[in-house]
Assembly symmetry: C2
Homo-oligomer: 316 residues x 2
C-alpha cells in the first residue's frame, strides 16, 4: 500500500540522499540553523468527515499547512516533512490516495520534501501527525515570542475570523451558499501558511512574532507574557474576513484558526514590512500596540471591552 | 498543563537555541548529515491499558525507543525528538506526568533533546507520535537496506522472540510469573534501541542493515529485494530469547517487535563487528547468508521450511 502511494511523494524526494520508506529513516544534507515543529489533527476534534464538502485531499493539504504555519511563524523556510497517518482499516483506497495527493501537492508547493512516513491502523478517530523541518539563515534572523517592547506596534497578516465563520457554518450543518461563505469555509479547510510573509518580516528587520493558529487573543498573550509587558488592541482595526459584520469581531479575536502571522516591532519597521508585503499581495494591518502595563486591553471606539473566554481551545 | 510538565524536558533542552512550546517551533544548530524518522503508537493496536503491569512511564520510554531504533538502524546518533500526544480529556494528570517522565528519561539516556511537542484531545484511542532526528558523519557512513551481495553473511544483534512471547502472555491476560517471563514482557514494553550497536557496525565497515521492528522475516525481505538477491536463514542459528524452546523459532522470525538490528556484510567484516560488540556486551549472531537466487529460504537441520505468514503486521 505505502509503496503504491510513493508516486505522490517522488517529485519532492529527489533532494534526499536516502528516502524512507525503503530504509528505516531519511537522510539529507543538513542546514546550519534548523527550525522544527510537530502538529496533529484528530477526527471529531479538528475536523469531521460529515462536514459539507469534506475532502481528504484538502485534509492532506491542511496537515502540511498547519505545520508549515509554525515554520512561517518563526520566519523559517520549509525543507522537509515527516508524516504519520493513523487510519482505520475500513478507509477506502480512493480516500487514502486523495489524502496523499493533498499532502504531496502542498509540500511541493512550499518546496518541502516528504522525507518519511509511517502508517498505523487505529480503531478510533483518524489521527494525522506531521513534523516540519526548516531553516533560517542565522539564530538571530528568526521571529520569537520574546522581546516585545512598550511603544511597539502589533500587526497581523491577512484577514481574521474567516475560519471561525466557516466552522460555525459547517457545525450548523449548513453548506456554504455564497461566494463569501465559500471563502470562510476555504479559510478553515484549506488555509495557506504565510511562509513568504514570515521571510519578508525577517527581511524588514522584525524579530518578534509567531503564527495565530490558536486565535489572536491567545497569541497576543504569548507575545506579551514572556517580556512582562501588555498590549492594547483596537477592535475597529481588526481586519475581519470579508462578509463579517463589525459586531462579529470576537470571531476574529478568539478561537479562529486563521493561520496568519502576528508580529510586533517599532512603527517604522512595521511600515517597511507593510510596504514589502503589500507588493506581494499580502495585507499587514496594525491592530494595536505594546504597553508597559501587563494584561491585554481590547478597545472598542474608546471603551474597554472584555473577552468572555480566552479562546485558545479547540471547539468541542 | 504543558507548562507544568516542562520540568521533565528542561535538562535535555539546554542545547537548543529556542525551545518550543513558548515559540512556534524549536531552533537548533544543525548537523551536516541528518537522519530523520517518525513512528506512532496507537492504543488497542500497539498497546492496551489493561495489560498486566501497564505503566505510562514505560509507554513514554517506548515511544522514544521505537523512533531511536530507526535511527539506530541507520547507524545514526540521536539528536532531537518532537513529540505529539493525542490524549483523552479524562486522562489522569498522574498518568500524563508518568508518560512525560518516561519520554524525558529515555530521550536523556540517549542524549536526545525534546525539541518540541504538541498535545491534542482525542475522543478515541490514545495516539502517540514522535519524530526523531539524528546525525551521521557522512552520507557514506550509514546502514542502508540496499547493497547486499551474494556470499555475505547476515547477522542480528541481541535475542529474538522475547517481545512476541511477552505479547502472547499479556494478550492471554496472564501476568508474568517467572524471571524469564518478566524478561519477555520487558522486551515488549521497554525495548532498548541499539544505538551503540548501530554505530559499532558502521565503525566496523558494515554498510547494509536496519532495525528488526517488523519481524526478522520481513526485514530480511527488505534487505534482499532492493538488491535483487535472496537469503538462506539457518533456524538453528536464531538467537532465541531465554526460555523459548527451539520449536518456537517462529516467534523470533515473524511478528516480533524486538527492536534489534540486522546487518549483512562479508564474513570478515561481521567478525570484527562481532568482536567490537561483544566487548560492549552486545551479541551479534550470524543467522544466514545472502544468495544469488531471489527469495528467502528457511533451513531447519538441512530441511527447507516455510513461514505461513510473512509476519510484518501489527497484532489485531
Amino acid at each position: 500500500m505505502i509503496r503504491s502511494l510513493e508516486k505522490y511523494f517522488s517529485p519532492q524526494s529527489r533532494s534526499l540522499l536516502i528516502a524512507a520508506p525503503n530504509d528505516d529513516a531519511a537522510l539529507w544534507r543538513g542546514d546550519r540553523f534548523v527550525v522544527a515543529t510537530t502538529d496533529s489533527m484528530v477526527e471529531d476534534i479538528d475536523f469531521r468527515l460529515d462536514w459539507h464538502g469534506f475532502d481528504f485531499r484538502l485534509l492532506g493539504r491542511r496537515l502540511v499547512s498547519i505545520n508549515l504555519s509554525d515554520l512561517a511563524g518563526m520566519g523559517a523556510e520549509p525543507r522537509h516533512a515527516l508524516i504519520s497517518l493513523c487510519l482505520r482499516a475500513s478507509m477506502r483506497v480512493k480516500d487514502l490516495e486523495r489524502l496523499y495527493l493533498g499532502i504531496a501537492e502542498q509540500a511541493q508547493r512550499f518546496g518541502c520534501t516528504i522525507a518519511g512516513g509511517d502508517m498505523s491502523e487505529t480503531h478510533g478517530p483518524i489521527t494525522l501527525t506531521a513534523s516540519a523541518i526548516g531553516r533560517v539563515a542565522s539564530a538571530a534572523r528568526v521571529l520569537k515570542r520574546e522581546g516585545a517592547r512598550p511603544g511597539w506596534k502589533i500587526a497581523v497578516t491577512g484577514m481574521l475570523g474567516g475560519a471561525a465563520a466557516g466552522l460555525r457554518l459547517l457545525e450548523a450543518g449548513r453548506p456554504p451558499r455564497t461566494r463569501i461563505e465559500r471563502g470562510w469555509v476555504e479559510a478553515l479547510l484549506d488555509p495557506q501558511p504565510q511562509v513568504a510573509a514570515g521571510k519578508a518580516l525577517i527581511q524588514a528587520g522584525v524579530r518578534v512574532g509567531g503564527d495565530i493558529s490558536d486565535g489572536l487573543y491567545r497569541e497576543i498573550q504569548r507575545l506579551v507574557e514572556p517580556s512582562g509587558v501588555g498590549a492594547t488592541i483596537d477592535i475597529d482595526a481588526l481586519p475581519l474576513a470579508r462578509g463579517l459584520d463589525a459586531k462579529e469581531w470576537r470571531l476574529g479575536a478568539q478561537d479562529s484558526e486563521d493561520f496568519e502571522l502576528i508580529c510586533a516591532g517599532p512603527g517604522s519597521r512595521l511600515a517597511s514590512a507593510q510596504a514589502a508585503l503589500t507588493r506581494s499581495g499580502t495585507r499587514l494591518t496594525v491592530v494595536g500596540q505594546i504597553d508597559r502595563e501587563p494584561g491585554i486591553r481590547l478597545r472598542d471606539a474608546g471603551r474597554l471591552v472584555r473577552l468572555s473566554k480566552a479562546g485558545y481551545e479547540h471547539f468541542r
